[in-house]
C-alpha cells in the first residue's frame, strides 16, 4: 500500500482541540439530551413539528391534516334559516370529471315574501365518494358556496353502498369516529 497523507496533517489547532476534548461526541449527546428533557416537560401537541414529541396518537386523538386538505364532501346550510344553500343549478355535476354527482330537482312554486316564484328546488343529491378523486372542481363550480370538501377523511365503510352519500349525510356529515380525547 502506498503511503498517503493523513488527515492529521491537514488539521488546524482548533480542530485538534475539538478532537482532543471529544467535542463532537458531546455535541451529539447534548442534542439528544435536550430532546429528552423537553419531552418530559413540554405539553403534548401531536403533529406539531416545533414540539419535542411529534407523535399524534391518531385513533385516540384526532389527526391533524393540512389546511388545504380535501376530504369528505358537505352541503352547507344557510346559517340564518337552516335551509339548504343549493339552488340545484347542476354546475357541480357538470364540472365533475368522473361524474360522481347526481343532482335531483323539481320545479315548484316557492313563496318568497309577497311574491310566489316558480323555482328549481333541490330534492336529492347523490355523491359517490368511491368514484370521487377530491379534485375540488365541483366546489369551485358552485355559485353559492354550498358544496364544500371538508377536512374529515375517515370515509371507509363496510359495504360499497355506503359510499353513495345522500343529501342527509351530506348535510349532517358523518361521525363514525369517536375520539376518547
Amino acid at each position: 500500500m502506498p503511503a498517503v497523507k493523513t488527515t492529521a496533517a491537514k488539521r488546524t489547532l482548533g480542530q485538534l482541540i475539538r478532537r482532543l476534548l471529544l467535542f463532537d461526541l458531546f455535541k451529539g449527546l447534548m442534542v439528544t439530551f435536550r430532546y429528552n428533557v423537553r419531552a418530559l416537560y413540554e405539553p403534548r401537541d401531536g403533529g406539531n413539528p416545533n414540539q419535542a414529541l411529534y407523535t399524534e396518537q391518531y385513533p385516540i386523538e384526532p389527526a391533524r391534516v393540512s389546511e388545504r386538505f380535501r376530504g369528505a364532501p358537505r352541503l352547507n346550510l344557510d346559517p340564518e334559516n337552516g335551509s339548504t344553500l343549493c339552488i340545484a343549478c347542476d354546475l357541480c355535476a357538470l364540472a365533475c370529471p368522473v361524474d360522481c354527482i347526481e343532482v335531483g330537482s323539481i320545479r315548484r312554486e316557492v313563496r318568497e315574501g309577497e311574491k310566489v316564484n316558480k323555482k328549481k328546488v333541490l330534492t336529492t343529491f347523490i355523491y359517490d365518494t368511491s368514484r370521487c378523486m377530491f379534485c375540488n372542481l365541483c366546489v369551485e363550480a358552485c355559485p353559492t358556496d354550498c358544496l364544500e370538501l371538508t377536512q374529515s377523511f375517515e370515509l371507509a365503510v363496510y359495504h360499497r353502498a355506503g359510499f353513495r352519500w345522500d343529501r342527509e349525510m351530506l348535510e349532517k356529515g358523518i361521525n363514525y369516529v369517536k375520539y376518547p380525547k
Binding site: M1, P2, A3, V4, K5, T6, T7, A8, L20, L25, G28, L29, V31, T32, F33, Y35, N36, A39, L40, R44, A52, L53, Y54, T55, Q57
Partner: protein, 459 residues
C-alpha cells in the same frame, strides 16, 4: 403464625444437624441458609423486575430522544408493557431449528443468564446487611464469572447452525475477549488505592480516603466505561447484533423465552457493569451528608442504622440508574463502530491507556508514600487498621496528578503510538492508486507518441 415462622427461620431441621455436625446448628441455619435465601429471593425479584423495566425505560428514552412517545397503550403511560411482553414471550411457540444442535441450543441461553445473575451475589447493594456474600475477592469473582457469559454467546451462535448467528458469535467473542482486558486493567489503578478486592472493602477504602476514586482515577473510569460498553455489547459497540448486517447476531434463531433469557442476560450485565463502576469509582453507596460520610462536616450521615442501610441502598441504585441512563443515552446518540475501528479502539487505545494508567498511578502512589516507607512527598499517613490514607494535601495531589498529568501523558503516548493508524484510509489509498496508474499510462502513451506523432494519445 409467629411460632411457625420462628421454627422455620431460626430452628435448624434435623438433617442440618446430622449433616453438618455444627455445635450451634440454629445459628448456622439462620445465618448461612435462611438469611441468604431470603436475600437471594429479594435481590433476584428486584433485579429481574428492574431488567424488565429497563427494557421499558430504554424504549421510552429512545422514543423521547427521537420525538416519539414510546409504549403508551398497556396501562397508564404503557407501564404494564414489560408484563405484557413477558407473558407474550412465555406463551410463544418454542422453536428449535431442525438443523440446530439441540442440547447446545438449549444450554446456551442458560449459560448466558446464569453467568449474568450469579454475579449479583457479591455486589454491595448497600451498607451492612445489604450484601448477599461479602467475598474478599468479590471483584475478581465478578470479572471471572461475567467472562463466562461469552461462552453462552459462542455456544448460541455455533449451535444455531446459521451463518448470521455464527458471524455474530464470532464478532461478539472477539469483542468481549478484547474489551475484557481493558476492563480488567482499568480497575487496577483504583485497586492500588483500595488495596483490597472485596467490594465492600473498596467502598470502605473510599470512605477512609475521603474521596471517590473517580477523582483519583479519571482515566481509569473513562477506560472502564468504554470497555464496559464493549463488554456488554451495547451501542456504539453493538456489532454482534448489528441488525443491518447480521439480522440479530448470535440470537437470530432464538425466539420466545429463550430469546428473552439472552435479553435478560444483556440487561443484567448492564446492571452488573454499572454496579462495579459505582463501587470502584463512584463511592458505592456513599453520598456525603446522607450515607457514609458527613457533608463537609456540616451535617452527618443518617445515624439510625436501619434507615442508613435503606438510604444506602437507594443511593447505590440511584447511581446505577444514572450510569444506565448514560448507556442508553450513548446508544441513541452515537452510530455503531465499524469492526476494524472497534478492534483498533480496544487494542490500540483502551489497553495501552489502561497499562500506562497503571504505571503512572504506581509512580504517583510510590512518590506520595510516607518517608520511612521510601516515598518522597510524605503525603500519606497510617489510618485506622494500619491502612495508608492520603492527607488533605495528598488528596489534592492525587486529583491533580490524575487529571492534570496522567491524562495528557497518556494522550500524548497514544497519539504517538497510533500516529500512522489513520493511514489506513481506503478512499485515499484508492485515489492514490488511480492517480499512479494514470501517470503510468500517460507515460506509456507518451513513448509511442514520440515515435508516431500523427497518433495523439488519449488522456
Amino acid at each position: 403464625m409467629q411460632a411457625i415462622l420462628t421454627t422455620l427461620l431460626f430452628v435448624a431441621p434435623d438433617w442440618v444437624v446430622k449433616l453438618t455436625g455444627e455445635r450451634r446448628p440454629n445459628a448456622f441455619w439462620a445465618e448461612y441458609i435462611v438469611w441468604p435465601a431470603v436475600q437471594i429471593i429479594v435481590v433476584l425479584f428486584i433485579v429481574l423486575t428492574l431488567v424488565a423495566y429497563l427494557v421499558y425505560l430504554e424504549r421510552k428514552v429512545s422514543a423521547f430522544m427521537q420525538s416519539r412517545l414510546g409504549p403508551m397503550h398497556v396501562g397508564p403511560w404503557g407501564l404494564l408493557q414489560p408484563l405484557a411482553d413477558g407473558i407474550k414471550l412465555l406463551l410463544k411457540e418454542d422453536i428449535i431449528p431442525s438443523k440446530a444442535d439441540r442440547a447446545v441450543f438449549i444450554v446456551a441461553p442458560i449459560v448466558s443468564v446464569v453467568a449474568a445473575l450469579v454475579v449479583l451475589a457479591v455486589i454491595p447493594w448497600g451498607a451492612s446487611w445489604a450484601t448477599i456474600a461479602n467475598v474478599n475477592i468479590g471483584l475478581l469473582f465478578i470479572l471471572a464469572v461475567s467472562s463466562v457469559g461469552v461462552l453462552g454467546l459462542v455456544l448460541a451462535g455455533w449451535s444455531s447452525n446459521s451463518k448470521y448467528s455464527l458471524l455474530g458469535a464470532l464478532r461478539s467473542s472477539a469483542q468481549m475477549v478484547s474489551y475484557e482486558i481493558g476492563m480488567g486493567l482499568s480497575i487496577i489503578g483504583a485497586l492500588m488505592f483500595a488495596r483490597t478486592l472485596s467490594m465492600s472493602g473498596i467502598i470502605d477504602a473510599q470512605r477512609a480516603d475521603g474521596m471517590w476514586y473517580l477523582m483519583f482515577q479519571p482515566l481509569g473510569f473513562l477506560v472502564y466505561v468504554v470497555s464496559a460498553l464493549g463488554e456488554t455489547n451495547r451501542a456504539p459497540f453493538d456489532l454482534p447484533e448489528a441488525e443491518s448486517e447480521l439480522v440479530a447476531g448470535y440470537h437470530t434463531e432464538y425466539s420466545g423465552f429463550r430469546w428473552a433469557l439472552f435479553f435478560m442476560a444483556e440487561y443484567s450485565a448492564m446492571i452488573v457493569t454499572s454496579a462495579v463502576a459505582v463501587t470502584v469509582f463512584l463511592g458505592g453507596w456513599m453520598l456525603p451528608g446522607v450515607t457514609g460520610t458527613s457533608f463537609f462536616g456540616l451535617f452527618g450521615p443518617i445515624s439510625n442504622p436501619t434507615l442508613h442501610t435503606f438510604a444506602s441502598i437507594i443511593v447505590f441504585a440511584g447511581k446505577i440508574m444514572l450510569l444506565i441512563y448514560a448507556y442508553m443515552w450513548f446508544r441513541w446518540t452515537w452510530p455503531r463502530y465499524r469492526y476494524d475501528q472497534l478492534m483498533e479502539l480496544g487494542w490500540k487505545w483502551m489497553i495501552p491507556a489502561s497499562l500506562a494508567n497503571i504505571v503512572l498511578t504506581g509512580i504517583w502512589y510510590v512518590l506520595a508514600l510516607p518517608k520511612p516507607q521510601g516515598g518522597l512527598l510524605n503525603l500519606m499517613q497510617g489510618g485506622a487498621s494500619g491502612r495508608l490514607v492520603p492527607t488533605k494535601l495528598g488528596i489534592a495531589y492525587f486529583i491533580v496528578t490524575g487529571f492534570g498529568v496522567t491524562i495528557p501523558i497518556v494522550w500524548g503516548l497514544l497519539t504517538t503510538i497510533n500516529r500512522r493508524s489513520r493511514d489506513f484510509n481506503l478512499h485515499e489509498q484508492r485515489q492514490l492508486q488511480i492517480q499512479l496508474r494514470r501517470e503510468r499510462l500517460e507515460k506509456m502513451l507518451q513513448q509511442p507518441a514520440d515515435a508516431q506523432p500523427a497518433e495523439s494519445g488519449g488522456q
